[in-house]
């Protein structure tokens, strides 16, 4: 998940994809990278821009059987976000751990 929540349509499309994977009982994990970490912010209000609240959508992820949620630690630091600011529990990963995670997947869906 690499896109900021409201800058384009792809962040929302990726959230829909994650929920579909859960609904189809896929074995998958989510990684938020770059400006994509902004999707995870707990305190979001998108009402005035007429878009669905990305944080609220993501807060229902545990219902979709996502195995684990990971977050790019450098991106969190870059945006001044702490783990306690996130809407779902996420495990921070450094660059080496991100490489290992991506290398371990059968398929990557990245946008």
């Amino acid at each position: 998940m690499r896109h900021s929540p409201y800058g384009g349509a792809l962040a929302r499309a990726a959230i829909d994809m994650a929920m579909a994977m859960g609904a189809f009982e896929q074995d998958f994990e989510l990684l938020f990278m770059g400006t994509g970490v902004l999707q995870l912010l707990d305190d979001q209000d998108s009402h005035q821009i007429g878009l669905r609240n990305a944080g609220r959508l993501l807060s229902s992820l545990p219902l979709y059987d996502v195995e684990r949620v990971f977050v790019d630690a450098d991106a969190l630091q870059h945006h001044g976000i702490g783990l306690s600011d996130l809407v779902v529990p996420a495990e921070p990963l450094d660059a080496a751990a991100i490489r290992d995670l991506l290398g371990s997947a059968d398929h990557l869906v990245s946008y």
Partner: protein, 130 residues
């Protein structure tokens, strides 16, 4: 090898769509299989039967039609994205009381399950755009 392609790019902006069609043709020419191409977000505009390209620019639809007709590649537009972009097949046009279908009959409008199913069976997933 079996490939599934995911196309996020608009057919009229950037090179993602053109590269995806060229990749599909090259992979098939080398004996690989492409069972399904899934179009999402702006990529769904690829299926338009209404778009008119200037005469001196290549037709963006034709390579996909050839892949479907000559090699049996399934072309699937994500229904959630397609509806937002005005990409309706005859069934959806009737359902939402729209005057006509905008999607070329070589394309199917369907759900994300079609993407997940294709990815499950594929050795490789290649994404264009995003």
């Amino acid at each position: 090898m079996i490939y599934t392609l995911l196309v996020l790019s608009s057919p009229t902006s950037g090179h993602g769509g053109r590269h995806a069609a060229a990749f599909a043709q090259a992979a098939i020419a080398r004996g690989h299989q492409i069972e399904r191409v899934f179009f999402l977000d702006q990529g769904t505009e690829t299926g338009s039967q209404m778009a008119v390209m200037p005469q001196d620019e290549p037709n963006r639809l034709q390579p996909w039609l050839e892949l479907a007709e000559q090699h049996g590649v399934e072309l699937v537009l994500c229904i959630a994205s397609a509806l937002k972009h005005g990409m309706l097949d005859a069934g959806e046009a009737a359902r939402y009381d729209r005057p006509c279908a905008t999607v070329h009959p070589a394309f199917v409008v369907s759900g994300l399950g079609q993407f997940i199913d294709a990815t499950d069976r594929a050795d490789r997933l290649v994404t264009f755009g995003g």
